[in-house]
Amino acid sequence: MNLPHEQPVAETMRLVTNRRIVPHNARIALRGVEQSFAATKGPRVLALDNINLEISPGEFLCVVGPSGCGKTSLLSLIAGLSFPSRGQVQLNNKPVTGPGTDRILIFQEHGLFPWLTALGNVEFGLKMRGMKKVERRERAMHHLQLVHLEQFAESYPHQLSGGMRQRVAIARALATEPRVLLMDEPFAALDAQTRDLLHDELERIWTETSCTVVFVTHNIREAVRLGDRVVVLTYRPGRIKAEFRVELPRPRHIEEGNVARLSARILGVMREEITKSVEAEYTR
């Protein structure tokens, strides 16, 4: 079914390049999604169980849970890089059948291509789409400016710091003007100061581009700092345990009292799952 405000691709593209606005008509729905994996030993591991989740266009959704709760599986399903064993992942009421540049993943390790410069990396998705060199260079530079890295355009990933690499990865994702940004613990490997800066930058970019963000983390404060909504997953198999709407005014700060209070509440709900996860680690 086509929603009335959905435009043909060519039309959308033109609109995007003129106004630098990403159309935010991406409604993601997970219906009864189950994901299991073949284990090296023993029975299949159930990673996700009966996940029902609606993500509104332009929403910033954070998913928290202990390690091993299937957070990464969830993102890879939305990205179309894997498929559910049961149930369906839908984008605008149509089932997801494969990867697409409307949904871009950002990984914990930056996943940049080491043989390309920062600019080359940002250009990559546009090149795959067949965009002309001059145009894609201009667009890539614009997105490098968005993450304040224009002076590092010609640097290779190994010449950049961890935070800078992650910013290049964000620019690379944004350059394809995705409707959905899927972030898998993108700032987990960074120091606290860099992470705070990138929170601000991500929030600003999200406001400017109005794309949908699904942000996976095990850091509850980070989730409350960034999200419109925080979903808590249980430890293996991952089920939705609780949902919290974050109605604090933006911009928020990670050290803010309100953020800390809500985080504490969420942690109260999550503690049981963390205990299970830790016990499983010890008894393995």
Binding site: I104, E109, F113, W115, F124, M128, H158, Q159
Partner: protein
């Protein structure tokens, strides 16, 4: 500088020892010639053009044969790295064929192609193609999982994924495979030339033996050694350094 000095001293001592042994006449000069005789043989060989001709012919052969191996090795490597079936069947076969000394192919090549250039090319290709194919496969396996995932996520698939993501991602490993393939090609060439009368460096080596001319044998040996070393240094070390610098890997020392 320190290393250069060490090497100068080392080779001076080596040369001195050689000179001493030759002058002591423990063995007759037709078995152990003095350094000066080898130098003379080298000088004459370059002057009458025979070494130049040998170098030219051998280089053309090894370059053509090597390029052929690279192309065929790529095709084979692509096959075994994209199909699980081929990996389990052909891949295993290639591993065992790779361990076969290239000279073993010579009798077969002579029966099929006669004492011709074709037979030499065949031996070169059989000597280096398998190692290139195997290194292509192992370099594909060494790519971090996140790289093709990011590529697919950004809209690369099929041939584009291969050309723009998998191939450059495997280059650091691939370069050492290409280097090894070159070394194998070079050895296969010289062995084949020693049997097949064909004006190359390998044949000059054998002519030295036939004429009982140890100075020529040693002179040609030196030429082969220096040539192999120079190409490794000029082409493959350069390539390795460039790739390592760009990929941000540790420089091979």
């Amino acid at each position: 500088m320190n290393r250069l000095l060490k090497n100068v001293v080392f080779y001076a001592v080596l040369l001195g020892a050689w000179y001493g042994v030759a002058r002591a006449h423990i063995w007759p000069p037709y078995l152990v010639p003095a350094p000066g005789d080898v130098w003379l043989a080298l000088h004459d060989g370059f002057k009458d053009g025979s070494i130049w001709i040998g170098i030219r012919i051998s280089m053309v052969r090894v370059v053509v044969g090597y390029l052929l191996s690279v192309v065929l090795g790529f095709v084979l490597g692509l096959g075994i790295s994209t199909s699980k079936f081929l990996e389990d069947t052909l891949g295993r076969l290639l591993t065992s064929l790779q361990s076969l000394p290239s000279i073993c192919w010579l009798p077969l090549a002579i029966l099929w192609f006669g004492l011709s250039d074709k037979a030499i090319y065949f031996v070169i290709v059989m000597g280096s193609m398998f190692s290139i194919a195997m290194s292509m496969e192992s370099s594909r396996a060494a790519i971090p999982r996140i790289i093709p995932m990011a590529g697919r996520n950004l809209g690369a698939s099929g041939i584009k994924l291969f050309w723009y993501v998998l191939l450059p991602a495997s280059l650091p490993h691939l370069v050492s495979g290409l280097k090894q393939g070159w070394a194998f090609a070079w050895r296969a060439l010289i062995s084949a030339e020693m049997i097949i009368i064909s004006l190359g460096l390998g044949q000059l080596l054998m002519t030295g033996r036939d004429l009982n001319d140890m100075s020529q044998v040693l002179a040609i040996l030196l030429v082969i050694l220096v040539l192999g070393w120079a190409i490794d240094l000029i082409v493959f070390r350069q390539l390795e350094h460039r790739v390592a610098a760009r990929w941000g890997l540790q420089q091979p020392s």
